[in-house]
């Protein structure tokens, strides 16, 4: 079954070791949702996905990957 993976954890560390809390505050979600995203337990809405990509100043595909 196809799944969506992400590089959020790596991108956080690459951006001045941003904490989960800081990222959550910037994108408008809870820290638990960032944790769930990084653990692959939750697939975000397109809105949240774009918010995360914009926070890291990268394209959406650099944050999220669709794997067959």
């Amino acid at each position: 079954m196809p799944k969506i993976t992400n590089n959020i954890r790596r991108l956080r560390f690459d951006h001045n070791e941003m904490t989960q809390e800081e990222l959550a505050n910037k994108v408008g979600c809870t820290r638990q949702t960032i944790i769930a995203l990084e653990q692959g337990k939750y697939v975000p809405s397109i809105w949240l996905a774009f918010q995360i990509a914009r926070t890291f100043n990268v394209n959406l595909e650099e944050v999220f990957r669709y794997e067959e």
Binding site: M1, K3, G28, T33, K41, W47
Partner: protein, 148 residues
């Protein structure tokens, strides 16, 4: 644990305590006949009922309106919680219907006050089921992620 998840646990815990208190007071005070005649008893039961509803409102429902308390993942889970409430209400109604029918079928008469008691019990169960639905939602989200 998400803030809403913590509140759902609190809501469930307090709701259960109040529901058990409601049941104990009702049984210890003499049941439906006493409920009909004793005003103080009725007021105690009403207070327990209102207490459980207010507790649920403060602990579970009001935070849903606060900015920053819930996000899209939390809203997805709370939007699905009514399914559990619906099942709980239907099962409760079925249990009441069967029980009352078995008890009062021969006489064909049922105290009207039982309708009040039925309504109170369904209200309490629906409130508890909302917290349970939220907790089940979080659990299923974790479980489905592991299966994928």
């Amino acid at each position: 644990m998400a803030p809403l998840q913590k509140r759902a646990w609190w809501g469930l815990g307090i709701g259960l305590v109040l529901a058990i208190a409601f049941l104990l007071v009702f049984i210890l005070k003499g049941g439906i006949e006493t409920f009909d005649k004793d005003v103080t008893f009725r007021l105690i039961i009403d207070a327990l009922l209102i207490g459980s509803l207010v507790a649920n409102l403060i602990i579970v429902n009001l935070p849903l309106r606060q900015r920053g308390m819930v996000d899209e993942r939390d809203r997805l889970i709370t939007d699905r919680a009514p399914r559990v409430q619906w099942v709980a209400v239907i099962l409760t109604l079925a249990a009441w219907t069967i029980a009352l029918n078995e008890v009062y079928q021969e006489t064909g008469l049922m105290p009207a006050l039982l309708l009040y008691v039925m309504f109170m019990s369904i209200l309490i169960i629906s409130t508890l089921a909302q917290s349970l639905g939220i907790l089940i939602g979080y659990w299923m989200m974790d479980r489905n992620a592991k299966n994928n």
